[in-house]
């Protein structure tokens, strides 16, 4: 169950309700995109670590090298 909170700051009215079909569909799109971004970030980190291992240096040493 996905809840959306809508606060009308002019009237002060706060509505908490379940997402409608359109909002749920958008939520699924957002989640899929977030998962893809997380996967990409994890893959980048793994590749970076693999490269560091291959070079035999630490991340801090790599920063010194590039700095």
């Amino acid at each position: 169950m996905s809840i959306i909170v809508i606060h009308n700051v002019e009237t002060g009215e706060i509505i908490e309700r379940e997402m409608n079909a359109q909002e749920l569909a958008q939520l699924e799109i957002d989640k899929a995109r977030a998962e893809a971004e997380a996967t990409e970030a994890t893959a980048k980190e793994a590749a970076r670590q693999a490269l560091l291992d291959k070079l035999g240096i630490t991340a801090d040493e790599a920063k010194l090298l590039l700095g």
Partner: protein
């Protein structure tokens, strides 16, 4: 000697001499005249007669032009009074009470002035120069998305403070505008040495390349939304967070938007807020 039943006028007796009748009628006539006069005390055109007791009447002379008949203060008699007239003379006039409670006119102020109180009465004043923050709303963060709608149009900028943000799973914190999910935004971010950025996104990412870790409440953001009504909005945000490795991280983010903003959507990228507070201020 006989008398009339209501006013006690003296009547001739049947045994009176005929020669006494002129004198009797004179007495009778004088009494009748006095009674009739008492019933019609008016002397002048426009006079109004009114009772001063159950039987006696008095004369009230006509008032002046425009006066109306009213009951006097003691509620004992009528009197002519001048009615209150509207003090309004001009478009935009207001009517307020003066020190005596009488209605007086307050002329409309100049463009941009606001109505204020000086403790005694009201007056149009020029608002203080911009710069002050005005609290618009305070909202607890819960659910998948918190939307702040019907944003006022009386400010130039918005300042949004997110404090003690807590989410149920590692995720970025995002800001959307007007519930627009189109790829209409560009943003960039920095998080403790790492940078990220994307064009054509459906939101502005406030945490740059870093995810906020789940379960921590040590996540705070200060978001300045510049010129939110002009269609050339830009957003700058700074924050301190606990990342998904539970490390303290500083995040900076910025983004651009090309339409005026009427609502804000605070999101955690499909995850759920466990807590936190969104406080929105208007800035002149």
């Amino acid at each position: 000697m006989a008398t009339t039943p209501n006013y006690g006028w003296v009547m001739p007796d049947p045994t009176d001499f005929v020669t006494d009748l002129p004198a009797d009628f004179e007495i009778f006539g004088d009494a009748a005249d006095a009674s009739v006069k008492a019933l019609n005390p008016g002397t002048t055109a426009g006079d109004v007669d009114y009772y001063t007791s159950s039987t006696a009447k008095a004369r009230l002379g006509i008032g002046t032009a425009g006066q109306v008949l009213a009951v006097n203060t003691g509620a004992t008699a009528p009197e002519w009074v001048t009615p209150a007239t509207s003090p309004i003379t001009t478009e935009g006039d207001l009517i307020v009470g003066d020190a005596s409670g009488d209605p007086v006119r307050v002329a409309v102020g100049t463009a941009g002035q606001i109505l204020a109180s000086d403790g005694d009465t009201v007056e149009w004043v020029t608002p203080a120069a911009g710069g002050a923050f005005t609290l618009i709303s305070t909202t607890s963060l819960s659910g998948t998305q918190v939307s702040l709608t019907s944003l006022p149009t009386t400010f130039r900028h918005l300042f949004l403070s997110l404090t003690d943000v807590n989410i149920n799973s590692n995720a970025t914190i995002q800001l959307r505008f007007n519930s627009d999910t189109g790829n209409n935004y560009g943003h960039s971010g920095i998080s403790t040495g790492s940078v990220s950025g994307s064009n054509d996104q459906p939101e502005i990412n406030l945490t740059g390349p870093t995810f906020v870790g789940s379960g921590s409440s040590a996540n705070n953001f200060s978001i300045y939304i510049n010129d939110y009504r002009t269609g050339r909005v830009n957003v700058s945000s700074s924050g301190t967070i606990r990342n998904n490795s539970n490390q303290r991280a500083a995040v900076l983010a910025g983004g651009a938007y090309i339409s005026s903003v009427s609502s804000l959507q605070i999101r955690c990228n499909g995850q759920t807020f466990n807590g936190g507070t969104a406080t929105l201020f208007g800035v002149q």
